[in-house]
Symmetry: D2
Subunit: 271 residues, 4 copies
């Protein structure tokens, strides 16, 4: 079935023949394997350009910052999936990645868009501190959450924020988006009525946009990073399974608030 007008597929990422594989213009076997790190290769794959030293440092730092934070919901979902289907590691990884959505990890991209909006308006508005309140007000008027601020565990600033900002500073990255991120943090109490501090999902675009990483590709960074964490958890799960223990604990206080037929519940159990 023809859907849309475009019927000839095109790509600029890779081509190959029997003897060589070309990726982004380079010969994979002669120019890349053994000559480029996985982080730099990710940058090359996504952007078509090799990163400079600052971009390497910052991209490595963001991938390390977001890869792992213990048994978060998506890791639990992934480990439960592997416990139920241990032959299909790829299925459990996929289940974990499916939890990288708008609420949890998607804020990296939406915070990036917020920063880019403020950056675009800053000079006309008379500087960052003038642009921020206007944009925050528009978000509030449209009932949009301010992405990347506040954290359920880290009530003060998420400790990953300072670490990422230090890498950006030390590597000579452009710090403009960090300025914007911090300006938003200062204005949030007045705009939102709560003192929400920068979390890692705002710090990631703040440092990556400063090394030229494309806005549209931001969402891929937490997904790649989390895949590394998921694989570690799934290897631990194969050695010592806790997927079913997690699901048992999860329902110990479960309350059933539907109806039951007459006579049910001589013995009692919530599932």
């Amino acid at each position: 079935m023809k859907i849309g007008k475009n019927t000839i597929p095109r790509t600029a990422i890779s081509t190959s023949d029997e003897h060589a594989i070309v990726v982004r213009g380079a010969d994979l076997c002669k120019d890349l394997i053994g000559r480029i790190s996985f982080t730099d290769y990710f940058h090359l794959l996504v952007t078509g350009r090799r990163p400079g030293a600052a971009a390497t440092a910052v991209l490595d730092a963001t991938l390390v910052a977001i890869a792992e934070h213990g048994l978060v919901p998506s890791v639990q979902a992934s480990r439960m999936t592997l416990a139920a289907a241990p032959d299909a590691l790829q299925g459990a990884v996929a289940a974990g990645i499916l939890g990288c959505g708008s609420v949890i990890l998607g804020a990296s991209e939406t915070a990036g868009r917020l920063f880019a909006e403020i950056e675009a308006r800053a000079s006309a508005a008379g500087g960052i501190d003038a642009a921020v309140p206007a944009v925050l007000q528009e978000y509030r008027a449209a009932r949009r959450a301010i992405p990347g601020y506040g954290h359920p565990l880290h009530k003060e600033r998420d400790p990953r924020v300072a670490a990422l900002f230090a890498v950006a500073r030390d590597s000579g990255a452009d710090l403009r988006y960090i300025e914007i991120a911090e300006a938003i943090e200062r204005h949030i109490p007045q705009a939102v009525g709560k003192d929400l501090r920068l979390n890692v999902s705002a710090a990631i675009p703040a440092v990556l946009l400063g090394v030229g990483f494309p806005l549209a590709a931001l969402k891929g960074v937490p997904i790649l990073a989390r895949t590394a964490g998921l694989i570690a958890h799934l290897n631990e799960e194969l050695e010592q399974s806790i997927g079913f223990a997690l699901s048992y604990q999860a329902t110990r206080e479960l309350q059933y608030d539907g109806e039951t037929p007459p006579g049910f519940g001589g013995s009692q159990a919530a599932q």
Copy 2:
């Protein structure tokens, strides 16, 4: 519901409090962000150990080698999925990862198990070249494929093999599993009746086992690597969608070999 005996979940990967995130015994923000590459962090996450120089070189090389090979089936599936559901990047990544199964990328792990089997028997059997034919014969008797040999495009040795072996040699890795992989290649024509050459899925365990990467974790390497390639393709898909063009082309020669009701087909179309 209690499934199995274990009801208390445990993990040794990560813990945290309000002020610090601990990963594999290290403080994420003080010791890792900005101080470790993503590749080394992946090694640390999975194995609990930081890699030595040879392990870093080899792990980087394998991740780079396997991340991207153009519009392979799983990439097509992923791009078609994004074309249909462009709001859910994580869903398209997941669809692509679900194609990292036994036939396509799973051979890294099964080839690793084959090499480990030969390694375990080599000294008792009087050397690698004595152990190989026996194990190959057992595989044939059990109608198991020899994983990691032969490639639909690269009829001579997959060019990534030599590149990976060179990295192993140059970095000072243990070359024993490369020897085993090449011994199998020499014996395959007699054992299988076809001249199947080493492909990348055999080269990956051959070099990784030589730097102490655990057998059980091999399957995660192509999954992490492909995630990077998938994210690149999905960014290209968002800029210039080919998902529906691919699906249109795929069915241009489709043959319907079921029945049709009377009168069907004044106009004709295969779907």
Copy 3:
């Protein structure tokens, strides 16, 4: 980690003890198995109510209408996934479902929301035909597509539309949302500038809302239906695999528009 304020999970769908499983207040083994069709059970599970005769007829008709339409992109993605990972049927089903997104099947829900919006305004506006142009104009002003109209293959009305509307009429369903759907169709040429006809994704909410099926649950109908079609395709794939043939065909006219290193391409291949 505590995310949000709610820490006690609750459900009204099912509970059980050692002797009985309760679903929506009924004893699964005494009252449901052998006494209720799968379609009616789906209605009970989702809404908490057993359907009347009209709701059964309409829900069956919509599930049948949308389950299968040949080798559409999500079916191709699913079959390619099974070809690559034949041991994990669940993974291939999941890959197919991941293509049930906003562009392809999500229109059932968004069209339902459009109809509900018009229904809500109709009496104040002086009838459906007065409410429709105003709402369409708002959609256009907000650059939102009108969901459920137009089809890449069925340029006249999708033939499933008349079939579904006939079931609604014959079963005595409330036809108000069909009226709304047809009113929109009449106003589309003027509002949009193209003569887009009702497709199945608009017909589904038009008939389901008329039998009291909840708006919020509409998106689940195409997902359940497509799962049936996917399972049929995957069974065919296990018997006669075409996953790799599809991917081969898909790239026969692939154009690589990136760079190549010097000397590449003595032999030629697009991947």
Copy 4:
């Protein structure tokens, strides 16, 4: 890339032109919508044949039996995924389906294979009761679990078993595979050393094989059924989210058994 020899895709499930959609030889809009239940359509899609009355009754009963059993691990994984990515219902359904693997729901198919094996040998062996111990012994010798017996909650026979067997009897289905299933149950204490009773995953193939449902398609039945249950849970999740509450509860007794850096843990939290 050409993988395998087959390059022309074929299908016998569906074709269409601008005016009609053909499914398994019938005109979808004239012959199927409004004229066939979803259950019968599923049978037609998968097998190419319309079911007789017994097959309808039994297939409905199995789909109803297995669709829902409360907050089992795959439902938890699915609800956690929706809580994290509420915009992508299809992603949460996919995550739930990915838990329909070998350990949890895959037993329907493997138990079916066990029954078919015994059926194939019964006449040569002198009857079912002679064939069963031999096959069980072979399973034990090969360290294969006996699929479909034992249940973590239902220590006596899973109550769904009797309900399914009653439907088979009342509908006039062939009861031969029920005989086989019960013969296995009688021999298990001696063969395995534990008194494991029939569970729903053995009852499903026992009744479905008796109405001619194909062995190879058994695995699809629990997947389709569970999709209905998942959609119900995800609708409840959208109304009243418990995904994060489940994940909070799951880790309340989590034990971290890795190392911590000096000074960690003035305040304490397990993730």
